[in-house]
Amino acid sequence: MRDVLVVGIGMSGLTAALRCQEAGLSVTLLAKGVGSTHLAPGTIDVLGYGPDLVESPSQALPRFIDGSPEHPYARIGVDALSRSLEWFGERFDAYRYTGAVDENLLLPTAIGSIKPSALVPESLSAGDLRNGGRFLIVGLRQLKDFFPALVAQNIANAKTPSGAGISARAVQIEPPTNGEPDLSSLAFARRFDEPEFLDAVAKQIGAHLDGDESVGLPAVLGVQHPHEVWTGLQDALGRPVFEIPSLPPSVPGMRLYEILRAQFEAGGGRVVVGAEAVGADTDGDRVTAVRVAAAARIKPYPAGHFVLATGGFGSGAIEMGANWSVREKVFNLPVAGVPEDGNERFGPRYFDAHPLSRAGIRVDDSLRPLDDNGNRVYANVTVVGACLAGSEAWREKSGEGISLSSGYKAAETIVEEQT
């Protein structure tokens, strides 16, 4: 029997699995498919809005937590959050993450809006707009869904907290291809891994350079060797180069996934992707096994501890039926924060706050799931990531921070109990 079974292979699941493994536990990581990493920009956003723009997450968090006592950060605590970020930074070798919990960088998004992030891949960091600057935004003609003129115009109009000015212009280049009418971001990333392609692109960009502009490109600068590609392009152009996250699938997200997954497997961790957890066997207040839909059979995966890292509504971990009934699909845990009948569930417009989006699993300070009366449901289950109740991560820009720190803290809970 394995010591730990983690269900879900996004940020929170990968973190919990790696931390438990580092502590010497045998861990299996099980997931329905790959997921959140490939859909997210690969940055670690800790707290971007609370609700005003946050310049320093570490300074803003105590007050934010006071004002949101049901928020996951209130359970996790600033201390565990800071330690998890430090731990995360140490996972990386050549391709590193930069930044800290003390200050947010302001990075351009795929449409040139501005997003606060605490930790970012090195290759994104020169896109920080806090101190203004001059930018050349480069588009690749065969890459759909990235429009350099849109990005340039929007960041030129952006308001920085310091009031520093931003100038930006756009250029579209036509990299050498094999005649394809369009190429995905990943296809481009694979080509950037080849030095000849990088040289050809550098030459084309070089012809457009003017003054001391930093150069921004869609986040496709290599998938196998991103550090070498990024530094190579900086050297060739003699100036800072940065990546701008593009639409999914996200190349920086794939790098993150591959790096963490490879570390986990190299340490003897077992990964089972493509198998959905559909239920659990229990004995009193303990779960004895998670039931998994594998080919031809429902297979029990017994373990000593279980980590629920399946995500929220978006990933199908929590499901709402036609009669508004809400259920968590692996352990059938009580879902807290679902607006009562007659109350508003959704705001009127897409980008409004939606009361339902705060629904999730309520936990205690050890991240054990709680029922409506505040009693622990299971003694050997911890809940992490997007299935936790109390946050509206996409508005707060707190998703990866919650996932990383809760995964980290769940591992601490398990290791403490185990030893």
Binding site: M1, R2, T28, L30, K32, G33, V34, G35, H38, L39, N178, G179, E180, S184, L186, A187, R190, P248, P249, M254, A262, E265, G268, R270, V271, V272, V273, G274, A275, E276, V292, A293, A294, A295, A296, R297, K299, P302, S315, G316
Partner: protein, 402 residues
């Protein structure tokens, strides 16, 4: 009905393109636009007997799209079913009908194996086959062993042990790699199993299914499960060393051919990949772990069809029990062969391009051998790397000192 579940899953597609980012074929050739395009998107335009999208024929059926989909869309299954319609509307080539019947060819060739093998190694003859039948002259065809595993099993007298397990050997172990069959029996017997080898096991029909010949495939499945079902009903587990054939009986006959028979259901429920079976034993503390060191560093390739079992990579867990053995998981998606895909003249180069990075990883390590669970993948890898490729059982057999 299963058809409705498979087709209905396309409504869960959120167009995230994770499947496209993993597809090894669209990466290798612009002729295949990717699983999302020919799968959930084109499927909306497929009605009845019409198929609007010929590029589907370049899908190799590796199945990684279904495996990685975070929304549970059965992309590969949708595409396999659509391929049948496409093939039927175009007419199925004689070549596809022949290469999809390995057991038929093997029955004819085995009595004259030296001649048959010589014929298939002869360059002029292969060139003629390529011209007339469209099987690429360079493609890796297996070598007929000239003897069968069944014949060995009939003579083999194992120790009479307490518990029994059934071995589904498939065409490859029977006709091409009978030693793998014998080693599998030895490993199971060493772990206290009486191994039952039901007589008359024929092809599982998978190559026919891959080539769109669903009715013929269904006939093969029916005949095979009729041989295995009595044992499943007795409560015996069934193990398979052929990953893809095991998967055919576990799920594909049901999900792709749409078969609902009771024989198939009981066989599915009892079917285990050999490594899955052994690792489950180990997790229950029932696998012998006294093993001799193997001072080897070997690359391991997880075959596509193994992912369809939804069981992770059990061979890695078993390799971890062998002292001194260093295994490098290549993490590559596909070797390109996909059963019969890479044999075809119009697809051979695509298949070799699909596997190129895998082959480079393997040759770069300069290993004594490489390891892979699936036979057609091993033949492709050997062909491309000129380094022997073995089933994981081979390493266990060695380490047990059997």
């Amino acid at each position: 009905m299963i058809e409705d579940l498979i087709r209905g899953s396309l409504d869960h597609c959120i167009k995230c393109t994770i499947c496209e980012s993993h597809c090894p074929v669209s990466r290798a050739t612009p002729l295949f636009p990717g699983p999302k395009y020919v799968g959930p998107q084109a499927e909306r335009f497929r009605t009845g007997d019409t198929s609007p999208d010929d590029s589907l024929d370049y899908c190799s059926g590796c199945g990684i799209c279904t495996h990685v989909c975070p929304q549970g869309v059965k992309v590969a299954e949708i595409n396999s079913r659509a391929r049948r319609t496409l093939k039927e509307s175009k007419g199925i080539r004689l070549r596809d009908k022949v290469i999809a019947r390995p057991s038929l060819s093997a029955k004819l060739a085995t009595p004259v194996a030296p001649v048959a093998n010589w014929t298939l190694r002869s360059k002029p003859i292969r060139a003629a086959i390529e011209t007339t039948a469209g099987v690429d002259r360079r493609a890796p065809l297996p070598t007929f062993a000239g003897r069968t595993f069944q014949k060995w099993a009939r003579k083999h007298e194992g120790p009479k042990l307490g518990r029994s397990v059934v071995y589904f050997h498939g065409c490859s172990a029977n006709w091409f790699e009978p030693d793998l069959g014998a080693k599998t029996v030895a490993v199971l017997e060493h772990n206290g199993f009486n191994v039952i080898v039901p007589k008359g096991q024929d092809c599982c029909g998978l190559p026919l299914q891959s080539n769109g010949l669903f009715d013929d495939a269904t006939g093969y499945v029916n005949r095979l499960v009729a041989k295995l079902a009595p044992y499943a009903r007795e409560g015996y587990d069934i193990v398979a060393t052929s990953t893809s054939c095991g998967l055919m009986l576990k799920r594909e006959a049901h999900e792709i051919l749409g078969m609902e028979s009771d024989d198939l259901r009981v066989v599915s429920e009892r079917m285990y990949d050999i490594c899955e079976f052994l690792l489950d034993l180990h997790d229950r503390g029932e696998l012998k772990t006294e093993m001799a060191p193997l001072s080897l560093k070997v690359p391991y390739h997880v075959p596509c069809q193994q992912r369809g079992h939804e069981m992770g990579k059990p061979a890695l867990g078993l390799f971890g029990l062998i002292p001194g053995l260093e295994v490098v998981d290549t993490q590559r998606t596909c070797c390109g062969i996909a059963g019969t895909y890479g044999l075809k003249k119009e697809k051979y180069d695509i298949a070799m391009e699909v596997g190129r990075s895998l082959f480079e990883d393997i040759t770069g390590m300069e290993p004594e051998l490489s390891v892979c669970d699936s036979e057609t993948c091993r033949w492709q890898i050997e062909h491309a790397t000129e380094i022997p490729s073995v089933h994981p059982i081979e390493l266990l057999h060695r380490s047990y000192g059997l």
